[in-house]
């Protein structure tokens, strides 16, 4: 399974990569912001996208909208990762059309399983 991680925080991205690769045995592509992520999603066609919510310029919801607007990326399931934990915010994110919402700080040992759960 190939996962695209879009997060502007390098450390967080790194931990997620380590977790998905080592624990989840997945292929991982990294993107450092929304537009980078959009372009990589288009060219690499990942099986799933882990998308950070709070990012400068193009944030998570904007990125999701862009992904959904494009024919080539419309079908890719997206799971948000957010540091905002209010239930109203989480349900708002879900309503945007994401397959799931994971909260930060996530458990690196269970992240791959949590991601898979969102996709099924």
């Amino acid at each position: 399974m190939r996962v695209l991680i879009i997060d502007d925080e390098e450390d967080v991205r790194r931990i997620a990569v380590l977790s998905l690769v080592n624990v989840g045995k997945m292929d991982v592509i990294e993107a450092v912001n929304g537009s980078d992520g959009l372009q990589k999603a288009r060219s690499m066609q990942p099986d799933a996208i882990l998308l950070d919510v709070m990012m400068p310029s193009m944030d998570g919801p904007a990125t999701l909208a862009a992904l959904r607007a494009e024919e080539s990326t419309r079908h890719i399931p997206v799971v948000f990762v957010t540091a905002r934990v209010m239930s109203s915010e989480i349900s708002k994110l879900r309503e945007l059309g994401a397959q799931g919402v994971l909260t930060k700080p996530f458990n690196a040992m269970t992240l791959p399983a949590d991601l898979r759960n969102c996709l099924t």
Binding site: A83, M86, A108, L111
Partner: protein, 1261 residues
Amino acid sequence: MITAPLPHDEERRLEVLRSYAVLDTPPEKGFDDITRLAALICEVPIALVSLVDRNRQWFKSRFGLSAHETPRDIAFCSHAILGTAPLIVGDALQDERFHDNPLVAGDPLIRFYAGAPLSAPGGERLGTLCVIDRRPRALTAGQLEGLEILARHVIAQLELRNQTARLARTARTLSESEDRFRLLSDAAPVGIFLATSDGRRMYANPELREISGQSVEQCFGLGWLDSVHQEDRSRVLAEWQQAVEQEREFRAEFRSVLPDGSERYLLSRARRADEKHWVGASNDITERRAIELALADGEQRLRLVMEGSADGYYDWNLPTGRMRISGRWESMLGYEAEEITPHIDSWTSLVHPDDRPHVWRALEEHFEGRKHSYETTYRLRTKSGTWRWILDRGKVVSRDPGGKPLRFAGTHTDIDEKKRAEEMLDRFFSLSIEMLCVAGLDGYFKRVNPAFEKILGYSTLELLTRPFLDLVHPDDRERTQKELERLGAGETTLRFENRYLCADGSIRWIAWTASPYVEEELVYAAGRDITEAKLTAQTLAESEDRYRDLFENATDLIQSLTPDGKFLYVNRAWLQTLGYTKDEVAQLHMFDVVDPSCKEHFARLLAGEELNKVVTELRTKSGEKRIVEGNVSCRFDDGRPVSTRGIFRDITESRSAEQELMRSNETLRARESALRSIVASSLSGIVTLSRAGAIASVNAAAERILGFKEEELLGRDVVSLLPELPENIAEFQRRSVDASLGKVTEWPVRRGDGRIIMVELALFEFETAEGKQLAGNIQDVSEKREVERMKREFVATVSHELRTPLTSIRGSLDLLTGGVFGQLPGGAEEVATIALRNTTRLITLINDILDLERLDSGKLELHFGAAEAGTMMLAAVEAVRAFAEQNGVAIEVLPSPAIVRADADRLIQVLVNLLSNAVKFSEAGSVVRVEARQEDEELLFRVEDHGRGIPSDYLQRVFDRFQQVESSDSRTKGGSGLGLAICKAIVEQHNGSIGVISEEGTGSVFWVRLPLVVKPATGIRIGLFTSSAEATPVARLLYREGHDVLPLDTWRQVRAAVEARSVTMLIMELSDDAEAGDFLSRLRSAQMDYPVPIIVVASSTDAIRSFDDNMTVFVPRGRDRELLEAVRNFAEDRGGPDVLIVEDDFALLGLMQKQLAGDDLRIRVARTGGAAVAMARKGTPRLMVLDIGLPDIDGFDVISILSQDERMRTMPLLIYTGRELDDSARERLTLGPTRFVAKGINGDTQFRTAVLEMLEQICEC
């Protein structure tokens, strides 16, 4: 050897042989004597009776031979039976048929044989009587004859044998039949006897012996006569002899004397059975005779009574038409005895022609059996030609086998006077202009006179079919009901007044006099329309009230005096000012109060002068003087003074105030300057405004805050300080002032330097000599608001800013301790684990702080929904399971059916917190218990542990922030100290409460109470009685719909809920239908005055069928839609339905409802015209579907009643009938828009289409 051929009749022969049943029977002397004699006669050593069977010859008797039988093919006899004459074989060795026969060659070495055939009566030869010798020889003629004779004897012997057997059989049969007969006769309940012609008895059965009291011996011969009563004996005997002589049946009734001397009546009958014998039966008729005698006696007496009675009596023989009539029957009509021909035609001619039809009808109904008895009233013509009212009652007393009446008996009662009195009353009743009625205590008029119709405007039919309370003005209903109850208790009503709603919408006052007739539950009442009088009185009273009110509330002193100086009236201000009470005033004379110097004024007043602007002094009760100024006048009637009236103003104060003012001015000035300096130096801004909103004064602080100089502000409209001007300044001002007075409000203000700031304004009102003014205390809160905003933003960013680095830290530690990079060296693993644990703790702390901040600021949104107590407890337990297992603590959960409106996630958070605390403080091996139970209208959660408890001095503070019990136990550490504070905040946001009961050393119970019923979304509160211990699908369904559910576990709770009216309806969800029935009957028999609708959810209707009324509805289990519909119907019962279907055919009704089922319409049904009217009145339907043929009043009546009601005159109507309607009928069947749809003809969809179209048209209107 030659074998003999078979005789020609072999089969028949064998048959006859077998019929003697002699083969293989033992030897018999008769036959043995014959063989012996034959041997003697023929001088041979062997003689046999041989019977030739199919394959053998068998010897019935044998003399001189030991063998029983020999084969047939070697038998000599086989040859002998071929002819009728005896067969003689002189020497067998010389005979070719036998010379080599084994019986000849061997034993018994036959040489000589002579056999005489045994011929049966039918000629069949069955065998022979034969003689045998072992040497050749011949028989003499005599010997041969002897043999033949003996052969016939054998046959005779066989015949005899046969007969004996038959006789034996017959004897057996005979004895059985006799047994049967004896059994019958022994058990027969009638006496049976057998006698010879001369009367001697040969047999008597036990019953006869019983009823005649004789023994077996006594009965025999002529002994039975001994039991016959001496006086009857010769008669009975003579009767017997006659019967015998004339060969007819003997029949006699006589007395039988029993040994104890008592007598019984017997009826004895006998018939000739044969030449000599008579068979007879005797019955005991003692009782029958007694009854007959009594009847005869009774009838005679009855006749005497009839003759002497005031009623006439008749007995009519229908086939002949003849009658028997009593003297009274005739005298009632003025005839002499026997003057009238006693025939039905006489009667017929006397009946009033107008009455004949109903009299015939009544008779017919009784004759045909439709009426049990005949009763009617009619007029009969008297001798003098006048008419007399008769009450005729009677009954058919006998009918022929086909049921046709034969005899009819009856009585005539003279009811003429009564009837005339009734007629008079009726006339009085109908002519009275007073409203006269007979009303039932059941709330309906039984009879009303025409005055009702005239005064109230309703038709008599309608008055009789509507509960009369409906017609009473709603405000008077309760009073009227009470009055009715008084009447019901037997009291009389005198002048009870209430208002009636008339058909034309007007209201009329009726004064009632009524008395009850309690036994019949009736009230006789007379009412008078007193509307006019009432109105006049009311107008007067109102005007008086108005003036009195004016006087009473005036601030001036008002008094009215009689010409001799007594007080007639003083107002409140007068009493207050002068300090008297009303009672005291009545005792006063005017000059006790008014200065005596006014005597002259008073005299002038009475003389007719009007005095204006008089100033005088009045004395108060305490002796003070009040100076008053006012006008006085006098009212005259017929030139004589009746009363004076004075209106005065108290001017004492204004007079003295003038002087006072001068004195206090100094003080005031000093005080004002002090105030002025306080205001000037105040740190908060103070602004005064004119009522119009112009700034009147400002202090230095206000100048500073607003950034304007005083001179720039004075006179300026305060609204101009707003950054943006409202469109309608005056309107804005008025509203703003109303909204802000007495409160602290916040306004944006544009300062002199253009900066916009937030100002907090406390606006108040004060009064000066110039009138009311406004003053505001203002404060610049921009900075404060900015800080608050920053704090909020800080908290929001903390969430992100702290979590992001924590994500990396935690993730790293997860991966390290998770062994992703291989096993860590010993020390490193421990350190990494510590780091991970503390990171987790830090995250918890941050979460808790954020939670609390949001709870404080009200930003934590609660998502209220139906939360099941049981589910929440299980979820919470699941969350702490691992932690509990780690600590060796068991958690016990008790199930609960309760559902609360709550944020389930948040409540789970509370329970998790309480549970993990409980686990934390429990010893390994102990149990933590969590339960939820209902207490009144609250849900109580309890989390109980058996840990070490909480010190009492600490109990108060456990819910405060950052509180932890000081302890050396490392397990208690690790919490943020905020958990219980968060719990408290969450519970309080649910309008609940939280607390703890604890004893040091034994454990703690943390409890949470939540209101079980929170303001329901639909306003519908349902009491749910269920036998389930857990939340049921029904409860969930109701919650989902936004209804509130109050679980009721016991009968007591149900009753309490109904009586407190805390539920809109009850739903019973029971697994046992019988239980449902039991419950319903209890509820209905409890006679609670609040009739609560009940919905029963069960699996069959049987248990509740008898409770089927419009307050009880049955819904099969699992039909959610129907259940919600039923709830809605009951809840909305006050409003009208969409469609009211009036149809009496149950099946058709079901079909119609089914057709409309999918259209989301509120449908009501009525099956009678009366119900239709009542239901339409209760809530006007949008459309009424009406059938014409109804069981009580028909569709025409329904329309005519409804058309008198303003609200219903325009109701859309769909006439759905099978009748052909002509134009005039159609015209009568019209209310609002009306359509006609014929039943059956137009097909199924026609009805639905018509309903939907009509409803749509109504919407468009």
